[in-house]
């Protein structure tokens, strides 16, 4: 009898995996490679494909150069003098906006989530009810979240109007109409949507810690709050890293929330990279591809702590 051809070993398995392989190679690998490669060409509206077109159109970093000189992407003169004595910090554009949003939402949602989890861990009654309440916003889409918060924060009818009606007429809370403050308004909505989920992750982490640790700390006379901060928190490092990756990667991709709350406004003061990329597909494809590649790089940096944790154990 002939030896079976190894190509046909587990043939069903190979055939069944074929659609997936084609999609992964064609879309994920191919699409990403295309975006990165053609961000270095003078690509306009008509897409290019072949290596010859790539060589002919190669312009090096010109798209990146133009991108970072575009005010809508990044306009960061830093501390600028306005008038004779006054100085003002100025850093606007889609990229600084997403950095502001990401830094604030990472810090706030991780600290709020951790504190909530610690409070939930105090053997409280009706834990299920509290958990359900904290977590339900995460089931809602960013569009729904955004429109609710846009309504609550609207200066004409929302919180500001309501408080003024109660008699405090000088009360002012018009963040979504204020170029300087609008990103913070979006952060509030983002925190509302996501911190319950961070709480759930942290609570799972807290519950995973060995009971013996608690007993030992108690015997040594260490107070509950110090145990949380100095013993439990360092032990939760894996959970923290996972949470960081989830929150940070979500923050970098932010799009729908901004569209729903301000649609980038007032003016373009709350524009974010995904919105910039999408809106430049027809007019400025080269810049769009360059901006996409920047986001890919940002994602790679976000993943570094996670990769080091997952694969760095041996070395």
């Amino acid at each position: 009898m002939d030896r079976p051809n190894p190509l046909f070993r587990n043939l069903s398995s190979k055939i069944a995996s074929l659609p997936m392989m084609l999609i992964v190679l064609g879309v994920f690998v191919g699409g990403t490679a295309w975006t990165v490669l053609f961000s270095f060409t003078n690509i306009r509206i008509l897409p290019l494909f072949t290596p010859r077109e790539w060589i002919n159109g190669y312009v090096g970093l010109a798209n990146y150069d133009r991108l970072f000189k575009t005010d809508r992407w990044m306009d960061c003169p830093g501390l600028t003098k306005i008038g004779t004595e006054a100085w003002q910090w100025k850093c606007a554009g889609a990229l600084p906006n997403v950095v502001t949003y990401a830094v604030l939402s990472i810090i706030l949602s991780i600290s709020i989530g951790f504190l909530l989890a610690v409070f939930m861990d105090q053997k409280i009654r009706m834990e299920g009810v509290f958990r359900t309440i904290y977590l339900y916003p995460f089931a809602l889409s960013f569009i729904v979240t955004g429109h609710v918060w846009a309504w609550i924060l609207s200066p004409e009818y929302g919180l500001q109007a309501a408080v003024r009606q109660l008699g405090w007429t000088s009360f002012s809370f018009g963040w979504i109409a204020d170029r300087q403050m609008v990103m913070y308004a979006i952060v509030i909505a983002g925190i509302w949507q996501g911190s319950g989920f961070v709480m759930a992750l942290m609570l799972a982490g807290l519950r995973g810690i060995d009971e013996e640790i608690w007993k030992a700390a108690k015997i040594d006379g260490i107070s509950t709050w110090r145990t949380y901060l100095q013993i439990v928190l360092p032990m939760m490092k894996p959970v923290m890293v996972t949470t960081f990756v989830i929150v940070a990667s979500g923050a970098v991709r932010i799009y729908d929330l901004v569209v729903a709350i301000t649609d980038g406004g007032p003016g373009i003061s709350s524009d974010v990279p995904t919105r910039y990329i999408y809106q430049n597909f027809s007019a400025n494809l080269g810049q769009s591809l360059a901006a996409s590649t920047c986001m890919l790089v940002a994602m790679a940096f976000i993943l570094i702590p996670w990769i080091r944790m997952e694969f760095g154990k041996k070395g």
Partner: protein
């Protein structure tokens, strides 16, 4: 066990607790305060949707109306204007249903079979393939938006229902495959071997041994896909085309349409209607929901 020390007899059992301690009061106040913050927008949504437009103009956003009416809900569902036409958000609802069902079924079918292959029928390069999958699930989707416009145009389906279904299916695949592969790999391998000894082949083992015992992972996958696809906005805008816009896009258009003055009660009713499907899934699925969203949170 003896409970004597040098001093004498020590009382046994737990120390009697004070009925209310300061610490307990603080814990519950913080939890309640946060609960109020989280529930506040839901409260505002509901009371705004029950007001008539006069009550909104003259009233206070916090205070519910004395004469609640469901007319805003009817208008939101049946006749709210999106800027193109005035047929309400029901158009978006049915579009979302038509997008969500096929995408969920196809992506789970492909992913479960591929996950089963990777876990139980390894072939040459299957490890490498697995690594590529893992990396793919982290690539931000914005990097592939334009290539997918080109691909769907080349297939001749750009701006149609099949295009948006295809895109949702594609972006769901890597994470779902990892989910299924890890689950199948955690099942006892003796089962697989026993089935093989009994002469069952690739498909038979999958359908008669693995699928029946994988209800939890299929539940997680269904929740992950339905909520993710229902809540999507960007793919709907880009690939679906105006006649197939999903509910989130329709909602955005209704809120932003300016014809005939702003009707905040109708906007809020439409917002609640858009949120109801994922909320219902959340309330009925319990712990599976958290597992589902935790798996999906890193996607794209």
């Amino acid at each position: 066990m003896s409970h004597t020390t040098a001093i004498g007899i020590v009382p046994t059992g737990p120390k009697p607790k004070k009925l209310i301690s300061v610490e307990r009061v603080i814990v519950y106040s913080v939890l309640l305060l946060c609960a109020v913050f989280f529930l506040f927008p839901l409260y505002i949504m509901v009371i705004t949707s029950l007001k008539d437009i006069e009550a909104i103009r003259s009233g206070n956003i916090f205070i519910p109306t004395m004469t609640p009416t469901f007319s805003a809900w009817g208008k939101a569902w049946n006749s709210a204007c999106t800027g193109l036409y005035c047929e309400g958000i029901k158009v978006g609802f049915w579009n979302s249903v038509r997008i969500t069902f096929p995408s969920t079924i196809v992506s789970i079918a492909i992913a479960s079979i591929t996950g089963y292959s990777l876990a139980n029928w390894p072939f040459k390069f299957s490890e490498a393939f697995f690594t590529v999958l893992l990396v793919s699930s982290f690539i931000p989707y914005v990097v592939m938006l334009y290539p997918l416009v080109l691909i769907t145009r080349w297939l001749g389906i750009y701006s149609t229902l099949p295009a948006v279904v295809l895109v949702h299916t594609i972006f769901g695949l890597p994470i779902l495959t990892l989910l299924f592969r890890n689950y199948f790999a955690s099942l006892p391998q003796e089962l697989f071997k026993a089935a093989r000894v009994d002469g069952a082949g690739y498909w038979r083992i999958f359908f008669q041994v693995f699928v029946p015992m994988s209800a939890p992972i299929f539940t997680v996958a269904v929740i992950l896909q339905i909520t993710g696809i229902w809540n999507d906005f960007l793919f709907g805008v880009i690939y679906a085309g105006p006649t197939n816009y999903p509910m989130t896009v329709q909602l955005n258009n209704i809120v932003n349409s300016v014809q005939g003055g702003k009707e905040y009660n109708v906007d809020m009713a439409a917002t609640i209607l858009t949120g109801i499907v994922p909320l219902a899934i959340y309330f009925f699925s319990g712990k599976y929901f958290v597992r589902g969203i935790a798996a999906g949170a890193v996607k794209g």
